[in-house]
């Protein structure tokens, strides 16, 4: 309390704080509006206007989106796609990151820059060939097509982040293990991975939200409605309930819940993941 009083001693700070508070409120308005809308009926909003005390509060919109809107199908699909992609990409990138961080060989830099450059590509440049490739491999319109692509594409970012982190692990530990005759695969599994855990947690948290929130690849590589993840499903829901905004918004909120929970509980890792690459 004393600190707070101290902080607001200068009028300039009071002004800044007021500005910040108004700004933060504006930032929350869309989400608050979404929550309020999802609890009302569209008829009631149109008759009384949005800014009015709701006559009735209902969870019906969530139920409609979940049952008739198909979210009960789409949401599990999101996990079926996201979790294997996440596991595979973390596993493979921890392998490549170790090789690039800890071994000197001529192609090291070239391979490293290929991974880094690839992560910045506009997706459109991969869209058609990957679509063709999944078709060729018989993976079009299956979970696996999408899983393989996510695994592959995210390798760029994950390798970049993990490799940079692995370089900060003191070399003596590894040298000592090598001298003791420890095999490279054991050094990777029993020394490197445990030491890289903070970075793995950070990158994995971020990757979870990215893969889970993907929309473009889901609509390109999947056609069957019963395979669609929540993002693609929400677009379908929008077409199905064109003007029933409370149902659409309720669906959107359901679709946000998993990433929101991950963010709330793993916020520290999420933020670390975002900043891992930007400053040394």
């Amino acid at each position: 309390m004393e600190n707070v009083r101290e902080y607001f001693k200068s009028p300039w700070r009071v002004f800044i704080y007021l500005f910040l508070t108004i700004f933060a409120f504006i930032w929350l308005v869309p989400i608050l509006t979404g929550v309020i809308t999802s609890l009302r009926t569209f008829d009631e909003i149109l008759t009384n206007g949005f800014i009015s005390w709701p006559k009735t509060i209902t969870l019906e919109n969530f139920k409609t989106a979940w049952d008739r809107g198909g979210l009960s199908r789409y949401l599990p699909n999101s996990f079926i796609i996201t979790l294997p992609s996440l596991t595979l990409t973390m596993f493979f990138s921890s392998l490549s990151a170790y090789a690039l961080a800890r071994f000197k060989f001529p192609a090291n830099r070239v391979i490293f820059f290929t991974f880094v450059g690839g992560m910045l590509l506009p997706f459109q440049v991969l869209l058609l060939p990957v679509f063709k490739l999944t078709d060729f491999l018989g993976l079009y319109d299956t979970y696996w097509g999408l899983i393989f692509f996510h695994t592959a594409f995210q390798l760029g970012f994950c390798t970049f982040m993990l490799r940079n982190y692995m370089r900060t692990v003191p070399g003596e530990i590894i040298e000592a293990a090598r001298i003791d005759g420890c095999s490279e695969i054991r050094i990777w599994a029993q020394i490197m991975l445990p030491l890289t855990l903070p970075a793995i947690a950070a990158v994995a948290t971020l990757e979870f939200t990215w893969i889970f929130n993907d929309y473009l690849w889901a609509i390109v590589l999947l056609r069957s409605d019963n395979l669609k993840p929540i993002t693609a499903g929400l677009a379908t829901l929008q077409g199905q309930f064109v003007t029933d905004w409370p149902v659409i918004v309720a669906g959107a909120l359901i679709g946000t819940l998993p990433t929101l929970l991950v963010f709330l509980f793993l916020q520290r890792y999420f933020i670390e993941g975002l900043t891992l690459g930007s400053t040394k």
Partner: protein, 292 residues
């Protein structure tokens, strides 16, 4: 252990990830260039037709609209979120009552899927029942609010606002990390020497943040070129292509009109525009490497 055996070890670690990456990312990227020179429609075998797709593209009105929209998006992205994000980072760096809650507020839009943001904002923009027009009409200044997503002159900006709403938190995170890495003694020394807060910001803090600013700008450019989800969910590029961007134009030509060779040509143009910025990013990474 023999020398050759030692040399082979890194490749044993690399082989599978590298093959996956080459098959799913590198080779497709190259193949797009070839596809852009064909008349592929998604079903038949692609036939080589030279630069015809590009000729058609450079005479296509929608291409120019999309290109211009991408640049408007880019212009908005390298200014508004960067200034707001830096400003917020400056305010929230250090201790401020309720700091965590404020940070979380600005992070929140980042966590939402673009599709979710697009849907929620689509409702905010609703011409009659939406919050924005309800508030505008309630002020009594106008009888009817604008059609945020149906008016050709403003539709693109309506969508860009949503993208900015998301982007500010990201920029703020990066600057917060940058500010943390600045040695507080430098700022103290400046203050002792009689520099005002404003001078300290321009002469010391901002120059020290240059590496972060470069990364922020490159990421902003890349993100603005990737823009697809919001446009796809909110307007599909309409009305009359007024909110079309290259990514969306490419998707529609390829997957709705089955002109995939043509779509590939659009993708190549997008790639060429991003290439410069990818190189700047790689150059930054390389610089860090050499200092390492």
């Amino acid at each position: 252990m023999t020398r050759t055996r030692r040399d082979i070890i890194p490749f044993l670690f690399l082989i599978i990830p590298l093959i996956i990456y080459i098959v799913w990312v590198i080779a497709p990227m190259i193949y797009t260039f070839y596809l852009s020179l064909t008349n592929w429609n998604g079903l038949t075998t692609p036939e080589f037709i030279g630069f015809k797709n590009y000729q058609k593209l450079f005479n296509d009105k929608v291409f120019y609209i999309s290109l211009k929209n991408n640049f408007k998006w880019l212009g908005a992205f390298i200014t508004v979120p960067v200034i707001l994000g830096l400003g917020l980072a400056m305010i929230l760096n250090g201790t401020i009552p309720g700091e965590k809650l404020y940070k979380m507020t600005f992070y929140l839009p980042m966590v939402l899927a673009m599709v979710v943001s697009g849907l929620i904002w689509g409702w905010l923009y609703h011409p009659k029942g939406g919050l924005i027009n309800t508030v505008i009409v309630a002020t009594g200044l106008v009888e009817k609010g604008p059609g945020w997503l149906s008016n050709r002159d403003i539709v693109l900006w309506s969508i860009i606002i949503v993208a900015i709403w998301r982007q500010v938190g990201y920029v703020m995170v990066l600057y917060l990390a940058g500010l943390k890495s600045i040695n507080p003694h430098l700022i103290e020394a400046a203050t002792v020497d009689g520099a005002s807060g404003w001078q300290t910001f321009w002469r010391i803090i901002l120059p020290l943040l240059t590496p972060v600013t470069i990364i922020v700008l490159v990421i902003s450019v890349i993100d603005s070129l990737r823009a697809f989800d919001l446009v796809s969910v909110m307007t599909r590029g309409g009305p009359a292509n007024a909110s079309s961007v290259l990514a969306n134009f490419m998707y529609i030509e390829s997957f709705n009109n089955y002109k995939m060779g043509y779509g590939a040509a659009i993708a190549v143009i997008l790639f060429i525009i991003s290439l410069g910025f990818i190189i700047i990013y790689l150059w930054r990474v390389m610089k860090d490497e050499l200092e390492y």
